[in-house]
Every structure is written in C-alpha cells, then in structure tokens.
Symmetry: C2
Subunit: 222 residues, 2 copies
C-alpha cells in the first residue's frame, strides 16, 4: 500500500515525463511537489527501493513499469472524478481540480470501474484531457492551438492547456467552454492578439496568452 505522498510523487514524475519526454530531474520534481531537492532525493531512494522508479544519482528519475501503471491509474481516477463532479454534481470546470486531487487517492478498483460505467465510459474530462482506460491507454485527438490558426479558420473548442482557476473563470465570462464554436475574424500581427467570433456572438479580442491555451478541432478545410 502506498501513502498519499508517495502517490503524489509518482504523479509528479509522470507529469514531468509527459512534458520533457526525458528523465525527471530532482529539482523539477521538487518544484512540482513544492518541496526541497533534499526531500526529493530521500523519497527517490525510497521509491527506488520499492521498484516504483529508476533512480540514478545525479542523473534523474524515471518511472518503472509498476510506477507508470500507478501514475496512469491516478490520472484516470482524477479525470473520472472531475467528470463526475461536472456532469453529475453540476460543478464548473475551474472548481473540480482541487476536489479531484483528494478523490484520486481513494483506493478501490471496483469503485473506479463502477464510476466509469456510470459516466458512460467517457474518453475526455471536462478540460478536454484524455482519460486513460484501465490499461493506462488513451487516445489523443487531432487538435491545434487557436494561435496557430489563420484568419477565416473555424473550429470547435475541445481542450485547454492551462487549468488555472483564473483562466477558466475568464473563459466562463466570455461564454467559452468545451464545444464552443470559434471563428477567426482577424489577427493583429503586432501583438499576436486574435479577434474571434464566439458561438455566433459578437467578436471578442483574445490575447496571445489566451489563444495559445485553447485547443480546437478545425472545422474548415484548407
């Protein structure tokens, strides 16, 4: 049985690996866990002794197959719970992360599978992130960030890169959510801001910082 803390370390390593596609450095793990490098070194030794990670002094840490399995299960649980909170309990997408951080540690295989069934085996969570299946596999969709599109392009929002409270609330204010149709009216070269039409509403100006964090499925050809 793993502790809450050990599980969180494995998840942190997984997340770093997802981005870097390389070993997770001690400092990177420390930053993600809001702790010190010294604590990370201690924990890596412990997890290595349990064969959950492959740790090489001064080189960094990778997940072992077992560690990887545990990490993807945590992601699966997290995203299923987020889906439950939004779909069934009517939470909004910026509220669910904190609660799911707790729920993901509930230990019951049967519970996860029943929850998955109850939600009709969803493939994506309320932020558009893929939900791994029981084997840890998930399917990525073809998606492109809004700032990569051109004037005249149209698309539907299928995911967000940033899961920040503030960012998501800002999108709520703009009435932008998953499934929202967006069309690029104009791009301002000077500051890379983009004027978009939102679900047939009047046009709105989005800064590059925002448009970079919106993933669309293109609905026009070219």
């Amino acid at each position: 049985m793993l502790s809450f803390t050990e599980e969180n370390y494995l998840k942190a390593i997984y997340k770093i690996y997802e981005k870097e596609k390389d070993v997770a450095s001690t400092n990177a793990i420390a930053e993600r866990m809001s702790t010190t490098a010294a604590s990370v070194t201690d924990m890596m030794k412990k997890l290595a002794a349990k064969n959950l990670v492959i740790y090489e002094k001064y080189k960094g840490t990778r997940l072992s197959p077992t560690g990887h399995q545990i990490a993807t299960t945590l992601i699966r649980k997290h995203r299923l719970w987020e889906t439950f909170l939004v779909e069934k309990l009517d939470f909004s997408w910026e509220e669910v992360h904190i609660i799911a951080e707790q729920l993901e540690h509930i230990d019951s295989d049967k519970l996860i599978e029943r929850l998955d069934d109850y939600l009709d085996r969803p493939k994506y969570d309320p932020h558009g992130d893929p939900i791994p299946n029981a084997e840890g596999k998930y399917t990525l969709r073809e998606q492109i960030a809004l700032n990569q599109l051109y004037k005249g392009d149209k698309g539907v929002l299928i995911g967000v890169k940033n899961h920040d409270d503030q960012f998501l609330s800002y999108l709520n204010d703009l009435k932008i959510g998953l499934g929202t149709k967006l069309e690029i009216i104009d791009k301002v070269m000077y500051d890379k801001s983009i004027k978009v039409k939102i679900d047939d509403q009047g046009p709105v100006l989005l800064t590059e910082k925002v448009s970079r964090n919106l993933f669309l499925k293109k609905t026009n050809q070219n």
Copy 2:
C-alpha cells in the same frame, strides 16, 4: 485543518458516546481505534489543546461542541457516500462501509451539499441509519427489533443493528433487505428462534442472534 487520524479519533469518541452516554474511556477509544492506550493519551492531549475534546486525566474524554460538530459531519459524509454507492453505483450494502471510510475524509463543504441534493436529501442510509443534516440533527424512527415481536405480528425492515459483512451477506442470501415485509409465523420459546414469512416467500427460521439485529416498523396494530 485536521488530519485523517484526528478525525477518526473524534468519530471513535462519538460512537462510544452514542452507546455509553458517558465519557469515553482511554481503553475504549484504544480498542475502537485498534491502537494502544498510550497512543490515545497522547492524542487526547493534542485534541484537548485544539479544543476539540474535554479530557480529564484518569477520568476520560468527551467531545467539545466543535468536536461534536466535526464528528457528526463525518457521520453525515459517511452515510451520504454509502447511499451514493448503493443507489447510483449499484454496490450492495455490505460493500460500502470500507469505501465510505475513505470518502468521508474528503474535504469540501460544497461537495457534501451537492451530493446530498443529487441523492434527493435522503434521511436514511442503505443500512437504515439516519443521516444527520448539515446542522448535525437527524430524526429517529419508531422501530423495534424483530425478536421483540410476537406471533402474528407483521412489519417492514427499516434498519439493521450489525453492519458486519457476513451478516449482511447472509441477509442477501435470504432475500432480506430494507423494505422487505416480514411476518412472524411462530416463535420457538426454547431457543428464541423465530419462523418468519419473507415478502410472501415460504417461511424461514431465524436464530435469535439474527432477529435481534433486525429493526422493523410494525405494520399491524395491537
């Protein structure tokens, strides 16, 4: 913020108090928590320092108003989650306790209230136990143990005293659950066993050990 462990201590004290209507002795708490009296003494000092319990050396421990509030909230959460697991995820009543022991520690007021709404504000959990409301109040029903009834009496099962896996599974086998109609066909004075008709099925013999643990609402007068 309380730890998982501190919360469990408060719940243990509450449960002892529910039964004994008196102070909870150090040994009684130790037994419920499967720990030693020494550990309990340490913890009582800590909880007393936080004003969650009233602890008097060598005398025993009672809950403070704050401690009582926390304990009933835990019971509330536990019973709501059990209800969720049975009603929505189709678990059976003997499986839910272990999982709810974990879920009850999830910290989010909004989550509890949303869950309560989602379940249509149930008053009783899958074992027939009352669910405290947000203020910690609950309503007891008029109920009587099956072994207190007489030949010819009829009733509906509205609760069970024992929550043991084995006991509940045995009831499942007999097709006895909450809402099941029972009628006393005969009482054997010698061993206090009772012959009952179950929901219009053929009669079955129940030992006193079983009948003592079944709470009914009487449906005949006399």
